[in-house]
Subunit: 204 residues, 4 copies
DNA sequence: AATGAATGAGCTTTCATTCAT
DNA sequence: GATGAATGAAAGCTCATTCAT
């Protein structure tokens, strides 16, 4: 028993080391320059070793993404704690945007890059995003039941809230905010304002 | 004068040829498989020739992006023709979403990919997206003046509308809709519904 | 004694398991995709375990080859049973060709691939092929004694018969029959015809 | 005109350089250790350069094989010059065997290795081996017309002669002659003897 | 203006093998 | 006896870019 458990633990520790190496490469060098070789070098193992833990690069990226989502969930649980559903929804939105803007490379991997999605088979759904999405959905469900928001369909409401937040964050990350003649500071302010306006709009 | 004009014209014609080759590669093979070599092959010139017209790949992509935006503008001008500002806003949103979902690779280049944005210098703004954004802004400006929508700040309103639409389209393109257990068909329906709900919400 | 015998038996059983795994890989995936790792996976042992039973890959292949030769010998014993030597020679040739064409990957290992031959030291002879070759030689010896064939030297005759059969089979396996403009079916027919013609030629 | 011709010539010269580099690697290091990188290093070019002249490794090997066949054809033309068809057939066989035994690695590439055959599309035939095979076929055709040999079908006869010679040479090259307890010298003698015996057998 | 030729740098992946446990 | 963990070495291949002509 103990021996098996140790083995499993060690295996997980190694996977963690790889994941952390990948995250480090992402954050310091960006996605483009993150290769299996680079990650291996970073954690001081040979490239071949990584293939003992991951079938291919996409699988590794998928796990890195999973890790990133756990980070977002932790943020949600720490910052979106209000008992009032609508108040909590506000906190969720603010946390989401804040997370995206401060962890741009991770956000990229979580919501924009295609690679990690390749491991998801046809007809299957995207498990990594599950818990965070459920966190949002649950909250919205409560909002609707209490008639706090002007949506009646949970799915549509959840998708809308998420899209608004994602739209704002991703346009910024992908540098598209440069259409507007604004300072960096102004952009962040506009994003926040837009989220708040949106929340006001949907409030009953 | 005549000679110079001809030269300029010829130069532009060649640039067009390159751009069209790139667009063709994008649409038939996708962004990942679009390399300078592939484009050159497509238009039956040597890779080196492309470098006579573009400093590097990013500059070329920037111009392809510009072309793509002209396409979107044409769509706007053709489909968002209502004289009533709010009605026109509705048409703009629908056209945008429709364009994104039917030209995914081009949308990718226009709003998601980082590469073409590298040419924009610090402090400069993003000229390619200009006209399309102005089209939206103008419309929203009118909506606000006629008090047709519940926003009062043009910038915030424009950013919000755009973000909502972009959020929906890009989450789909980037396969993130897979969190929700929906058929492909259902997804498109949900996107449309979300846009419509949003327009209802902002309507005065 | 009993203990030692059991150990030897167990060791042989394990070797058999490895060999059978290798054969399975050969036949289902072909030689190119047969790696130590694949074999180990197939028999559900670790790659390292194989090295407890075989010094290196070549040694393992040598043993797989030995097994394959036992298969050919069994075929000879089952199908080349005529008491008349020349008739038996005919049966041997037909069995050989048939075996080669229906077990191409194994034939490759037995008669073409270099790897398994690396274990044979200088000055040593090739024990794996021994029994099968003896089966042929014995038969030819009888043919010569009864003056049924137009050869007088057993070695030369055996080598000739073998070479003719091997030439035909291996040219087919190695795709060299493609010089001739023939259908797949025609090729098999030509091989059979060539063998028969050869037997007619050497018959006294 | 002159310019184009020079370009074509230079291109062929480069291809020759690559081919010769490959041949050199083959002969000094053997097939297994001949990689694109190795060849590139040998001729002091970068690996990428080779891909300007050959689509992939198989295509290069196909061309090396072509070169090797030209070498064999030259040998045929130099050594198989008798006007009497049967005599010429004898010369062909002897030349073939001699060529195989003295250029073992090239023979391997020409008649045994699978890689160069991958470029041949389904339904197509193997052009590289064409001329040499025709040289043999023509000769046999004449033999048959003059009733010098005991075969009546040209194809069967050609295939038989070739198979006998190839069987002898390839069994030697692939070290299978080690079944027989013979010195290296004895083996060569046995091969020669077998060819001669065969020729005697088929002679009318 | 156009290009043929070339490359440095990089990629993902696979393999036979070793060794401490 | 068995293995999990690890790796050095190598493979084929692609790309953006440069430069002499």
């Amino acid at each position: 028993m103990g021996i098996n458990e140790r083995k499993v633990r060690e295996r997980n520790e190694m996977r963690q080391r790889i994941i952390q190496g990948a995250i480090h490469m992402f954050m310091t060098e960006g996605y483009e320059k993150t290769s299996i070789r680079n990650i291996a070098e970073k954690i001081e193992y040979s490239p071949a070793t990584i293939y003992l833990y991951y079938k291919d690069k996409d699988e590794l990226l998928y796990d890195v993404q999973k890790e990133a989502f756990q980070g977002l969930l932790v943020e949600f649980q720490a910052r979106a704690t209000a008992t009032d559903p609508f108040e909590r929804l506000t906190q969720i939105c603010q946390t989401y945007v804040r997370f995206g803007l401060t962890n741009q490379e991770m956000y990229n991997l979580m919501f924009i890059l295609k690679a990690p999605m390749n491991v998801i088979e046809e007809q299957e759904y995207w498990k990594n995003g599950d818990d965070c999405f459920a966190f949002l959905t649950t909250c919205i469900h409560e909002c609707i039941q209490l008639k706090q928001i002007r949506y009646d369909n949970v799915m549509i409401a959840a998708l809308s809230v998420w899209s608004m937040a994602h739209g704002l964050v991703s346009l910024d990350i992908c540098c598209r905010m440069k259409v507007m003649e604004m300072e960096e500071e102004g952009v962040v302010h506009a994003i926040t304002a837009s989220v708040n306006e949106y929340l006001k709009l949907i409030k009953n």
